[in-house]
Amino acid sequence: MEFKTVVDSGCATVHLDGRLAYGVYPDFRAATLAALEHPAATRIQLDMSGVTFLDSSVLGMILYFNQKARAAHKELAIVRPSAQVAEVLKIVNFSKLVPILP
């Protein structure tokens, strides 16, 4: 599963979709590193509108990427989470760790 990364106006958006679990890590890492290393991107967004299932291991994945983004002085945010994703993020108070935008 490859994730598309689009850079526009200084913002790199990684479009995540489908069922996210530990197995997607190589593709997740490739897509997010591309966004992180893009010279024009000062902000990074994880678009989760197309995600139908979220394994809790993905939360650790995102937190690890957030750590790398901070080290690179880039802001990370989750945008447009699907209903299933929003429910899980709400239960674990994920917005305290990574901004979540509608």
Partner: protein, 356 residues
Amino acid sequence: MGLFRSKGSGRAALEMEAAPSPGEPPEEVRRALAAFLRVQAGALEEAIREQGLKLQQAEGLMGEAVRGFGEALQELDVLAKNQYELAMELHRVLEVSLEGQSGTQSVEAFASSIRGTLDLFVQAMMEIGKYSFQLVDEMESIQVRSASMGESLGELAEVATRTHMLALNASIEAAHARKYGAGFSVVAGEVQKLADRSGKISDQISSQMRETGEVLARAQTQAGLIASNDFNEIIHSKQSAETMVTAISESEIRAQALVARMEEVGMAVRAQVGRSIQALQFEDMVRQILRGVTVGSGHLAAFSAKLQALAHEVDLGGRPLAGLMLQAAREFEAFGEPAHNSVQAASMDSGDVELF
């Protein structure tokens, strides 16, 4: 009683009729009057007797009803008191859990503590996940470097082999030179020894590298397992626990409100029971009224006896009829006493109170 109340006009009429009478009426009239008086007296006695029986019956029924009602009210008062005390006890129990004592927590504090603990637990799980992915990446990096080191060791082994071959060739050339190559042969022998030693060391490092690589591969697998650990069940358990804690907190608040309401109702019931018991005093008032009616019945009985006596006198004919009737009219005046005014059950602000 209207018979007694009309005494004034009746007496005047009798006086007017008696005065001009020159003589006695015929015997038949006298006897008829006597018979009429006897019938009236008899009817009056019968009515008095029947009313007396009804009064006794009413008094008995009322007394029984009041006794039963009074006992029920007293029982109700005890029950209301028990209910109020239970509500107070429940209130105290709930206050203990709400306000807390030494070593206990209020429900609200407990709920907050549970939520905080669950938050910390889930955050810790997510942090573990984060570091697990970091570990996976770093293990992968070490494996890449390890592979690179393996390539370097391969080159080192190649160098040792070629050095060994070079030393062997040098020894052959030294043999061809005979006595002039003796010193060179010694050097070639030493180089060969070094090449052998270098090759052995390279083999040892390669062997250790393979073992390290296997350990790294296992560690990477373990890191992957930790990172892939799905704690969705824990997340859902956290949600269930939070829902339960919220429900407990809400139940606590509702229980407090219900207990407060129970206390209010208990107090109101006791107040109403008190009012009902006070209202039962109407029994005394009704008894007083019934006694007044009984006294009135006695007066009526006396009146009936007077009528009987008058009928007897009229029947005897010994005295003039007009005189008899005048005397009877005067005597009947005594029966015209004013009606007694008792207090009312609804209010004791007015009326004649005799018994309490």
